[in-house]
Amino acid sequence: MSSRDDVVVVGAGPAGMAAAARLRSMAIRVTLVDEQPAPGGQIWRNLEANRNTAVGKALGSDYAAGAAAVAALRGSGCSLRFGTQVWQLEDGQSDADWRVFLKTAEGLDMLPASIVLLAGGAQERPNPFPGWTLPGVVSVGAAQILMKSAGQIPAEPVWVAGAGPLPLLYMTQLLALGGKIAGYLDTTPRGNLVAALPHLPRALAAWRDLRKGIGWLKVLRRSAVPIVKDVAEIAASGSDCLETVTYRPRGGAAVTVPARLLLVHEGVVPAIHVTMAMGCRHDWRDDQQCFAPSLDGWGETSRAGLYVAGDGAGIGGAEAARLRGEIAALGIARKLGKLSEAEAGQRAAPFRRALKKALAPRPFLDALYRPRPEIFAPAGHTVVCRCEEVTADQICRAAGKGGPNQLKAFTRAGMGPCQGRQCGYTVSHLLARSLNSSPGEVGFFHIRPPLKPVTLGELATLEVEEATP
């Protein structure tokens, strides 16, 4: 057991970096694993390489602000493993330890750990609409990844459709890099603002965040980007790839425009694939319309020794993620006996106060950007599970035969390569609607291993000793 690390942190975004550095500062052995070639997560992706470049400048001050966290991690003495996927997580059989199965360019490997901290962040909310699977329809998040990692921006004017801060930020960044926007189809329901207003006073405590959003809108207006408000329905069509986009404002008539590239985004949800696969308990978060793992005050899940920090614990943004990472690190130190209960509590107190402040604008933002109902009730012919090509109609017809897991057997929805990452929420919502229930009651797919595809040849050559039963 001499090679064992005490803690494996999965994900090198704001939460994972803060937690790893904090753990190391308490003389805890820690390995930080991330799929990307460098630290930063989604928000600070490729930050080190983009520093002092035109792309880095266009990405703005929030992006540049990640440099300190990245530098702190580099200097922390943590073992860092980039370009490394966690393809499976298992609890050790006889003891309370974990087996973290890794995949790198060199092959498969397994890292034993007493504690695992998941800092996998968020994923974009699945958003099926007619034609969403056509080439030429891309998520805003994916477009931003291309911008950050390869400095790529679309050559032609793009249509952007969606809601939430990310489309606004992306469009601002795109304009700064000389990109062109054909129009922004804002899908935020007009009524959301009324529902959000009662939360505004509390949100003003974080007025800097709100000002950012207003600033982005100003940039769009200055650049004369056409904005269509309160778009309720979107459809993409074309024979082999996107040719036209049809949108319908609430209560208005449908408009069809030619388009080569449509970027879509309807907010983000916690990445729950791993915690679901590990059988952790989850709660339905009505305010954010998503499931999130049930956590104690330190970020520990219902599975002992498995922690979550960052947006994977509930959407809160980069600063909240960093603070949750700090708190989880202290909780883990306490669990490992490096800190007493009192010490941990004392040291966590300022982070907890700061977290409360960082989360202050959330009720306002969650209400303002509450997803429009059409996302969860796509037209009958819309493909919901793109891996197995299952339509909304097929799901609804099978409703009543059981929950999401029985539905797999009837429709094959969720059984393809993405393992329900794309259709899980839509299936739960469609079932809930058919059964007059809520997604929280209907539940989610059971997630089956592995977490990432590995080949038969890779598994056959996995060099790990078989535990003696």
Binding site: D91, M110, R448, P453, V454, T455, L456, G457, A460
Partner: protein
């Protein structure tokens, strides 16, 4: 549920909504009985939904052959039974020998079968093996083949048996586990989580939990548990038609209609019977991947998409328990299929219905008596 609730009367209650429970319920209902079926979770939740769905007489224990061959005939007319083909294809089953010693073992087995009058298995040489399985590794020297064998689609089979059972009048209670059992006059009262059912005949088809149910009726059965792991891969171009196993390794390997490869063979995962949960153990599963890539080197680059393990009961001699309870009148057991029960589904249902109607059966089920296991327990 409180004792004040009204009990629902049936001629027979089947406990367990796997394929054996559905098949028994279907046959009982067709013989004219009013049947209720209690399933704690949902239809096909455990072994039946997790099955590789091999329809195989190849390599089966000799004691099972009489009923297995009858079941094979029923599979060949499965549409006549459940009005659906269940995704059953007759592409044969092949057990591959990787060396001359293994091949000699397969020959001995076929000779033994011939001596007993069975002709469903044959031994083929390396050339015929390559003809049947073009991508097989060059070192393989021959195989045993059962050409009328094949495989079905487990989910389709579940749906077909469920539909047929319901059409025959079976009432299915899902999410309804049995809590207590009592004997009332000439019938049994089963108190389940959402209903109370009474019937003179009770069928125990409770799979991995059948030992516990048997205990409620006073039958002590030493039962083990199997949690056999299965791998399904991404889709690949047509690769093999027959179902492939291996004389010297734990492997079952087939390609589904969808193009995915389904790989199992009995490598065991971990389980928690109380929580009704299985856990995949990838270090153990490595052996299945090694077996698959040893026989089919060209699948090394194929990605595994999903892995799971089903839960079912296994007996000490790996033969099922089929027949009346020695202790409890009217109780009929059908469990302990030990990893090879899928093919027996049609015939066991028929046997149970026959036993319920007449108290006896013309089929050879003596080797499957529960007493054989209980005796061993007492001797030990």
């Amino acid at each position: 549920m409180t004792g004040g609730s009204r009990a629902i009367l049936y001629d027979a209650v089947v406990v367990g909504g796997g394929l054996h429970g559905l098949s028994a319920a279907l046959q009982l209902a067709r013989s004219g009985a009013r049947v209720g079926l209690l399933e704690r979770s949902w239809i096909g939740r455990h072994a039946s939904g997790a099955s590789a769905a091999g329809v195989r007489t190849l390599g089966r224990p000799v004691a099972e052959l009489p009923i297995s061959l009858e079941s094979m005939a029923m599979w060949h007319d499965i549409r006549g039974l459940v009005d659906d083909d269940c995704g059953f294809h007759v592409h044969g089953q092949i057990k591959v020998a990787e060396n001359d010693i293994e091949l000699a073992g397969l020959r001995d087995r076929v000779d033994q079968l011939r001596a007993l009058g069975y002709r469903h298995e044959e031994v083929v040489d390396a050339a015929e093996l390559r003809h049947l399985l073009p991508p097989i590794a060059r070192h393989c020297v021959g195989a045993a083949v059962a050409r009328d064998n094949g495989a079905a689609d487990p989910h389709r089979t579940l749906q077909a048996f469920r539909r047929a059972a319901e059409a025959a009048g079976v009432t299915i209670y899902e999410g309804c586990g049995v809590g207590a059992v009592e004997s009332i006059a000439d019938r049994w009262r089963l108190s389940a989580s959402r209903a109370i059912l009474e019937a003179p005949v009770v069928v125990n088809a409770a799979g991995a939990w059948a030992g516990r149910l048997a205990a409620l009726f006073g039958d002590t059965v030493p039962l083990g548990t199997k949690a056999s792991m299965m791998i399904v891969t991404e889709r690949v171009a047509p690769y093999v038609a027959p179902v492939v196993s291996c004389a010297g390794r734990a492997l079952s390997f087939k390609q589904t209609d969808r193009g995915t490869l389904l790989i199992g063979g009995g490598v065991q995962g971990r389980f928690d019977l109380q929580a009704e949960k299985t856990t995949v153990d990838f270090i153990a599963l490595r052996r299945a991947a090694q077996a698959a890539t040893a026989l089919f080197p060209s699948v090394a680059g194929v990605a595994m998409l999903r892995v799971w393990a089903g839960l079912e009961a296994k007996t000490e001699d790996l033969l099922p328990v089929i027949g009346p309870s020695p202790q409890a009148p009217g109780v009929l057991h059908a469990f302990g299929f030990s990893g090879h029960g899928f093919q027996l589904v049609p015939v066991v249902g028929a046997i149970i219905a026959e036993l319920a109607a007449t108290g006896k059966t013309t089929r050879q089920i003596a080797p499957f008596a529960l007493q054989r296991l209980a005796r061993k327990e007492a001797a030990a």
